[in-house]
Symmetry: C2
Subunit: 406 residues, 2 copies
């Protein structure tokens, strides 16, 4: 099926800068799709620090297991990231392990990278054997095509049911010197906390150790990629890699500006994934305050964001706050009917266990009309807060997933 | 909107027997709906034992709170159950408590039942004040109309988005004497474990104490009403009441035949609720075996049964077992990719971490064609087992819930 570009897509793909120390190449290997690129290779300069966060699925793919085993090992040599779309290489048994090994060996042969510094991702259909020969057979072409400006093409090569490529960039100035970050992502369905069918690659020329980089990445995943949900389903392949080449010569260790920039690019890419949620017509920010703990706040926020009844009401532009009450109640978090208040945007809808005195259905309905919607719930119990992002649930989601073997 | 009768509905409503000691009446009070009955009253003979199970939602309705407070108190007098559809009286603040009190008082006035023996339920829209005067104003008519054969009419009066009334009956013979059970239920959306927008009333002429009756009801709820899910959303109003009038004179204390009959009628009604799942075209039984514990097995079974990607694949008759693997992996239960096996019906689909040797897509697809589908997962780890029931997720679910204020 041909999917229309999401109505929530950004106007244009951003102009992504070169990150010194990274070169990209893409190729059409015909893994599953015809007439498009489906493999991207990123070559990383010697000494690049690489951090990663992965799906916690008990049935995660061979690629994810391989990446996890390699993370944090010796970082002195050059490194590479190679990604294919069309086939996830998940639940492919021993064959899957073999495919990963074959791809890593081929990259090592062509780029001279140590095998332990080659990271692979695969995304697409689960349970079908990855035709890795199609990928390894293209490594000569890929190696020859490596160039510093290829990141935008890489964003296209990793797409599956995505309706637009996802990219973001930011900079930060540290003592008059500039550190640059640029990243790409894919993902539109099977998106839920604990990562999702989401692949994200972020590159920076900052100087930082692997362990410090890992600390920052893990810290900010909770409030970015692990705070989005499209359909509550969690992929077997989720991979987020952050590579710091050090080519800027600027040490960012302990720098708050770099940390803020990293958070922003992670949140930007996470939001783009939600904006490409399968069938989405609304981008929804759910903020919960006043919970007993931050964890309770996130539980309530996700209960709202994952509720099919809430999501279908939003699709219908129905200010159905009763369903918010339902989702709060079922979450398992501490809540009290009479302390709870609900706002759509800044419109107070419910408080003191009932609809607010001045609330009108028209005022609520007006808040449901824009593409971007805010649901704010205060539990009135403590200081716990959380924000998550989701999209609505429409007939198009059903169409895509009832008819498409993803 | 007018909803078509579910394709999964039984051919006909069963012929429900009279339960000695119970009389029913229904009336069109105009709470919300026009041109149909929307209140049912059941009068129960003095001494009737009443057991109950309710939603665990933190935002449960005033009616539920009132029922819970009354359960297990003095059972010597007559009792009554009164139910309205169209308005759930949930999240209606202090007004909600007042409505329950007014309805209970009116029943006490007309039937002479102690106030602590009057149980109320309300189902329908959340957050709108219940016009209880419309109900109390009809109590004279209701009282005059009470008759033993009214249970089928009661099943109609409690419907909301249901497309068919739900009823079941069974008997058991104990030492040559017969004990009879008959029950009715409503529910089609907002159905998930921890009960659902589900109201269930089961009546029997058995002799049994309230505490023994409660023990049986609680025990069998886990494997019946708390083992079904339509959309993972849990209602604020779920109520299951079981009333034993004792009119048969047959003591069922500790009798395995009665317990089996009770389990069967509970499961029968639970299945009917799933068969009326909003937009459902498939009835799906998910059985998990070989889990570390029974609790783990239920976690995995519900993860599969609640997965939008699994449910849309079933709607599309797509034997997409990769999504089953995903749902197992995300559940949080202990699982091992290489020990897991998956069957559609009796067709072995996957084992040893990959697709089964003899599996063909045609064989899997054939298992997806019938209205009733079985998904069987063995985790290969321990002895834990669980079975849950669900339905598929279709565009009609979206239509109903994006356009209907329920």
């Amino acid at each position: 099926m041909t999917l229309a570009r999401s109505p929530l897509a950004p106007d244009a793909f951003p102009d992504l800068p070169v990150i010194d120390g990274v070169r990209f190449a893409t190729v059409a290997a015909g893994v599953r799709y015809e007439g498009r690129t489906d493999v991207m290779l990123a070559e990383l300069a010697a000494g690049t620090a690489i951090a990663g966060v992965f799906t916690r699925s008990a049935t995660r793919s061979a690629n994810v297991l391989d990446c996890q085993a390699k993370l944090g090992q010796d970082a002195s040599g050059p490194a590479a990231i190679i990604v294919n779309s069309g086939n996830s290489n998940a639940f492919t048994g021993k064959h899957g392990d073999g495919s990963v090994a074959a791809i890593c060996d081929a990259v090592t042969d062509h780029l001279g990278t140590p095998n332990t510094r080659v990271f692979t991702s695969s995304t697409g259909v689960i349970g079908e054997r990855l035709p890795h020969d199609k990928i390894t057979g293209k490594l000569g072409d890929l190696t020859a095509a490596l160039h510093p400006e290829g990141i935008s093409d890489a964003a296209l090569a990793i797409m599956t049911t995505d309706t637009f490529p996802k990219g973001a960039t930011t900079r930060c100035d540290i003592d008059g010197q500039t550190v640059t970050l640029a990243g790409i992502a894919k993902g539109s369905g099977m998106i839920a906390p604990d990562m999702a069918t989401m692949l994200v690659y972020i590159f920076t020329d900052a100087v930082i150790t692997q362990s410090d980089l890992q600390g920052l990445l893990s810290k900010h995943t909770d409030t970015t990629f692990n705070a989005i949900t499209v359909d509550s389903d969690t992929s077997t392949s989720d991979t987020l890699l952050l590579a710091a080449t050090g080519a800027s010569g600027v040490d960012v260790t302990g720098n708050a500006g770099f940390e803020a920039a990293l958070h922003n690019i992670m949140r930007d890419l996470a939001h783009q994934v939600v904006r490409d949620g399968e069938g989405a017509t609304k981008f929804v920010e759910v903020t919960v305050t006043g919970a007993a703990t931050d964890a309770d706040a996130k539980t309530v926020a996700l209960s709202i964001a994952n509720s099919p009844l809430v999501k279908t009401a939003i699709a219908g532009e129905d200010p159905n706050w009763g369903r918010i009450v339902m989702a709060v109640g079922k979450s398992g978090a501490k809540a009290d009917r009479d302390l709870l208040s609900i706002r759509f945007g800044d419109v107070l809808v419910a408080e003191n266990g009932w609809v607010a005195d001045n609330y009108t259905e028209a005022a609520g309905a007006a808040q449901m009309k824009p593409q971007d919607i805010a649901i704010n719930v205060d539990l009135g119990i403590g200081d716990g807060t959380a924000t998550v992002w989701t999209c609505d649930l429409t007939k198009t989601y059903i169409e895509i997933n009832a008819d498409y073997r993803s």
